[in-house]
Symmetry: C2
């Protein structure tokens, strides 16, 4: 029996036209896990807010310090390598079809030898991909619906959302929490590192360091403790090192700097933020041979099956770019770009601190994590957008403990970072006192 | 408690070293769906056979007519567009970060306007991706583990394997079958189109036309019947048109040529075989706005959520190539490459027919489907490899009804196709009579 009803096609993200039309339903039931998702994915939701703002203020010069999107040109040595590879595909000698789904052998080798120098990672443990976010979804597919997961709170939302989609969680509970997920609170009072003794054991621990959004890079001692607790509980750590290139102090850039971690940890990483490859798409995942399920079977073998069945390798053109990124000259040039973004972060952090705000992050990360005690993140987001035309990210979008914070990205051209600082200064001058946030927020902030 | 055991890391695919070592297991249980998978993914398994053969005969000139891997250079207009885009990323004006996860707006529009001309597909219904195989996995993620699926038998193995991984099936039964999957037999006696009245209703019907591996392109009448049965049963058709560019007669190139199909069909397609993008990676999926779940909610909206959460868009460089593929000049040049492969298919089909073999496919497809009645596919594969150094694909790898067939790919350089034909002729001359396959196969063929 066909069900006919009037449906508003109400796309969560850009490019979906809103239209009312008669829809004939199939008999296929909607995936109940998809129904559990309370909101759209965070960044498309913010994009919708930006579109609405652009419509309201068509002449406003919006400054986007929201999604962590790189803005600076990619060093020539890297784009030349990709251009050359591409042109080679028009020649008999240069043409290549399918590559190994696990990635170009040379690139796997170079990743193992440069990124994981002296950490004992073999090329055969490195799987090249089209990006960390995509690999997180493939890891979730690998784990399946029966595992339990823990996440830093706040954290990059893809871990939770992909877990919900896979059926690892219960229903939405409240305050941005889903039943069945272990939220590891990371807040100023614990210096953004969870109190591990409070954590309920789970199968999987997603851990992002330097953390997105808080910007906190876990210290060596902290990661030693994390590996210890994973061993004690028999958990697998999925360590997201997408921002490793931003580490300025001696915090580890990889979980494999910690002895014994290969028995308990997978690492996911990316060229997006280190090489400006957000749109070019390249990342990798490391699965050590030692890592095994409770029945002793190696996880690497199952991930290999996922990669060969559900993926077909990263673009060969892009992999040629990855090789150039890891060449000596490429590394040197990229260091310059990363330093540039880090200076941006410093400018933003100093400006916001000088205003009297509580500012975290920025040292080991391109993100500033700003506290507005007593406010709602989405209200603060809306207020700043309305008054300054600056896009930020509401902290609560990263987890319940992100409430009353905003994440501010340092990815932008210098002149726009400076202009944003001017606007922030002007805006906060109009605020009688920073403490008024907590005193009188209902008068002060817009309601969603 | 840690489990310690001796594990042989025995990778199913290339690049995984075999080593014996002590492995400390975590407490995480292996995903039971992964345990259901009987074999490795088909093409890596064949690659392992090829590696073993290369080791045995290091001087043999192996001709690969196995995996459908394009071999001819990509027209210059396309690689130039990608090279130019790449070099532009080193400039302030040309740099682009994250694009829309759904794909570049212009490319979505051009796909809607050229591939789906006069079929009423809107750009907002087109999702650009890194390839059809990856989209199949994402569609399975969308559907979840509660759906039932039907597949052509034989068919491209990713539908079944991704269904197993998602938990849509029962355990392995026998003869290459898994419990819970509806196998729609496609064999010479039904002209490779299933007897639809025999098919048990399922939620999803995967349908590949022109079919990989049989090469059969369903006629308009057949697809009208398929849409009718989907409507009657309330099923969703996932129509894989990856080989549409090879259609030579008036068989539909898209399911959307069939009136009413938008209410029941998703289409997955690819630039891999039409533009030689097997290693470059580009594809797309169409989800019509009309397509809805039994509760009336639009499927497009949920797929959009999957795409924004579990994917980050195809490489922007590669999307620039996709635009060039669909330009007038690009289309003309690609037509030349496709014609070349079709001539290859014709040469292979004529040669194998002239030997007295039963040959199918080739007209609307780059694949020849050859029947060896009374033999086992894997034995025939091994015999041909041993005697001629030619890689083919055992038909049983595509489903139980593929048993006693081989798929032979027309993707190769002309001189190698001609050399393969010489070797086939020589080999089959040594065979007393083609009918001897069925009479005396145990003497004649190698055992696995």
């Amino acid at each position: 029996m066909m069900i006919t009803s009037l449906i508003q096609v109400n796309g969560a993200s850009s490019g979906i036209r809103r239209s009312a039309q008669v829809v004939c339903g199939t008999k296929v039931a909607r995936n109940p896990n998809m129904e559990k998702l309370k909101n759209g994915y965070l960044f498309p939701e913010i994009w919708q807010k930006q579109l609405a703002h652009m419509k309201k203020y068509p002449d406003a010069q919006i400054i986007n310090l929201g999604i962590g999107d790189t803005t600076e040109p990619i060093p020539k040595i890297i784009t030349s390598a990709m251009a050359e590879y591409s042109l080679g595909l028009s020649t008999v000698e240069g043409y290549k079809g399918y590559g190994a789904e696990q990635g170009n052998e040379e690139l796997r080798k170079v990743i193992a030898e440069t990124i994981y120098k002296d950490m004992g990672i073999q090329d055969t443990e490195v799987f090249v991909s089209d990006g960390a976010q995509c690999d997180i979804a493939r890891l979730q597919l690998l784990f399946g619906s029966n595992v339990t997961i823990a996440v830093q709170d706040p954290t990059f939302p893809a871990y939770v959302d992909s877990g919900i989609i896979l059926g690892q969680t219960g229903e939405y509970a409240d305050y941005g929490r889903y039943n069945g997920i272990e939220y590891m609170r990371c807040a100023p009072e614990n210096h953004f590192f969870p109190i591990l003794s409070n954590i309920k054991p789970t199968d999987i621990i997603f851990f992002c360091s330097p953390n997105n959004p808080t910007g906190h890079a876990a210290s060596r001692d902290q990661l030693v403790k994390l590996v210890e607790i994973a061993k004690r509980n028999g958990s697998i750590i999925v360590f997201d090192s997408a921002y490793a290139a931003y580490v300025s102090d001696d915090s580890p850039r990889s979980i494999y700097e910690i002895p014994g971690s290969k028995e308990v940890a997978i690492e996911v990483s990316s060229f997006s933020k280190s090489a400006g490859f957000t749109g070019v798409r390249l990342g990798w995942t490391v699965i050590p041979e030692e890592l095994a399920y409770s029945n002793g079977s190696p996880i690497l073998k199952d991930f290999d099956r996922i990669i060969t069945t559900c993926f077909n390798g990263a673009s060969n053109i892009v992999q040629a770019g990855g090789l150039a990124c890891l060449s000596k000259e490429g590394q040197k040039d990229l260091h310059g770009v990363i330093s540039f973004y880090k200076e941006n972060a410093n400018i933003l952090a100093e400006t916001l601190s000088s205003i009297g705000l509580q500012v975290y992050g920025g040292l080991n990360s391109p993100y500033i994590w700003v506290h507005f005690p007593g406010t709602k993140s989405w209200n603060m987001f809306a207020e700043i957008l309305e008054r300054t035309h600056i896009i930020t990210v509401p902290g609560s979008g990263f987890g319940p403990s992100g409430e009353s914070f905003l994440r501010i990205s340092a990815f932008n051209h210098r002149e726009l970072i400076l202009e944003a600082c001017r606007r922030f200064r002007r805006f906060f001058r109009t605020v009688p006192s920073i403490s008024s946030y907590s005193l009188n927020q209902t008068d002060f902030f817009l309601h969603q």
